[in-house]
Symmetry: C2
Subunit: 413 residues, 2 copies
Amino acid sequence: MKINVNPVKGMRDFLPAEVRLREYVKSKITETYEQQGFSLIETPAVENIELLTNSEGGDNLQLIFKILKRGEQLQLGRADLSEESIVDCGLRYDLTLPLSRFYACNKDKLPTPFKAMQIGTVYRAERPQKGRYRAFTQCDIDIIGDASPLAECELIHATAKALQSVHLQDFVVKISDRRLLAAVIASFGFAPEAVPSICLALDKSDKIGWDKVLQELCEGGLEAEQVEQFVSAVRGLSLETVLSYGVPASIYDSLKEVIDTVAKLADGKYQVIFSPTLVRGMGYYTGMVFEIATEGLGLAVAGGGRYDAMIGKWLGTMVPAVGFSIGFERIILLLQERGFVPPSSCARIALLFSQEHDSLYSILAAAEALREAGHKVSTLPARHKLGKQLAQLEAEGYSGYYSCVKGELILFP
Amino acid sequence: MKINVNPVKGMRDFLPAEVRLREYVKSKITETYEQQGFSLIETPAVENIELLTNSEGGDNLQLIFKILKRGEQLQLGRADLSEESIVDCGLRYDLTLPLSRFYACNKDKLPTPFKAMQIGTVYRAERPQKGRYRAFTQCDIDIIGDASPLAECELIHATAKALQSVHLQDFVVKISDRRLLAAVIASFGFAPEAVPSICLALDKSDKIGWDKVLQELCEGGLEAEQVEQFVSAVRGLSLETVLSYGVPASIYDSLKEVIDTVAKLADGKYQVIFSPTLVRGMGYYTGMVFEIATEGLGLAVAGGGRYDAMIGKWLGTMVPAVGFSIGFERIILLLQERGFVPPSSCARIALLFSQEHDSLYSILAAAEALREAGHKVSTLPARHKLGKQLAQLEAEGYSGYYSCVKGELILFP
């Protein structure tokens, strides 16, 4: 029987060299987050379907991999068959929803505030295209139970540290508050129903330019003169001027405190700016939002915000929460483009043997002696074309070669 | 809306203390395997459904979590609806099948022999019960492309080293060859069709005792006298006597070489024994099989064997392969029962602050100073009942406490 041996469409096999890079980045990020006081937790990649489909995941709800019921629970004979009646769980599309469920389920065993770190695979059935996968790694930190802007400062500072630990520099931290842009829009007399589409258009100004934003807003049925005044105001908006557009002082105060604090902690090593058009897509954000962009990539390498309403929905009491997620795959891509090779803690040695000369025991004992000297050692049969073999081994990352003859180790020049 | 916030039935949330233990065990095992020359690879947790259902996974094929097709591919309106017509992929039930597919797919980019290590979650829709989960971690090493018994020796030696690295001692390595027991059975004149059920009964002798094995074989329709002679012979079987029961010399030679070599490498630190009744359940094993059992657990903590036919089925050429899998969850259970706490690389410090006294910046700058001195630091609001707070923090694993007053760090006694 002919079987397709490729990975599932949109998913990937990782070969040793790529795994080494991914594990290096994972360990650097998680080490940094541990130093910053975050604790790793883990939840299943599979969640109950009601949890997934009743979440505020926006477009992601259309992309859920759903899992079929099993045994007697699965009844395919019925006439009125719907998707809902034949699935009972599905794969998670992000790490925020599972974290919220985890907190609601385990809160009595967790400290307040709870500082969680997660790193794991999430699944979205998107149309596969270059650089977009159906299974990819996310790396999140969240602070649950702290309503003060200290939580925002800690998340942004820790994430910047994590990016620095994987050799990213020259990045810009952009900060705003969802409610700020809404207040400015309202002050120009636009109807509340128009707020989401206006936010969406402004969010694209970096990519499509302000002329196109203007055009899009007018085509959306808003009055041209009003739109022009509004866009010109937004473009000139600084943190100092927002109060004159009806933004509540409490929102301004918190935002200013966070931007000033993070900028001081940055100590000139990265930029921290107020970015009034920043919206972030996820529907569950309720307050401050932030992202980190690098010069080279154009795209954000990390994004997050405050979501004070999500956990409370299940517990019946408000639970403040704020999170920041690193786009792990983008960082890997960036490091690969730079030709970055992770440093190795010790040398990889190949021990080339011939079974004609040595018993299995003497080969393995020789390898063990090299390991006890602190090396990573792989035993490999010596080939006839030794030069070619050594060249191949070097390409695989080996940096030392021994041969074993009658139990004696001989170092290659 | 009332939502169930528990994890999916049979799956688990892991809180920080348990994650620390699991990550410690993972890192010890993978470090050991790296030293032994194995390279980490990664495959998706999702595989195409044809691959999963056409595999030799035995009972596991009944336990696959199947994933529904999406969009236009999913047609629920048809009258003759079958499971096969509405699913296109599923979750892996082990790591051996994905490895075999990975090798068949990527062989041109991989060295020969290829020494792979994997650690990942596998999924089986078993009836949940104590100690048995629907999502659990496996940790496998495999050598692909080496038909010689050196491969068996390396796998067994590396796995024993990995178990030692997570503080397991007093274990027994049991080794046999599937073909050996089959030859002995044949020499007693039993029909070839009876071989699987006889093997199955013998495999249980450790658990149910020899009297019950005898009874089961007789009830299975075999002649009582013949069964008694056979069982008495098997119970007395030593490696030295197998040749007199028609076992081919080549099988005996390899088995003896592996047992002698591994025993010499063990250097008295663990036992290595010939165990003729060892069968191992998986249908794909073709030669030597082995497992490691500990005194305390009764159950095997690791199991494996040679499966020379699996990869070749897809490639059209034979590819020798042998693997050894550690039961990661059993090791975690064993360490938890012993009250084992993983050592920490550096102290976890709590920095207790009051926002009345300090600005966000001075709190965070004080924390950063402690981090630069090599600590893991979490900032936490000081509570009124300080004694109770410190006791809670100690229980969470903190070992040092500072407070921050007007930017000055004060060490608690």
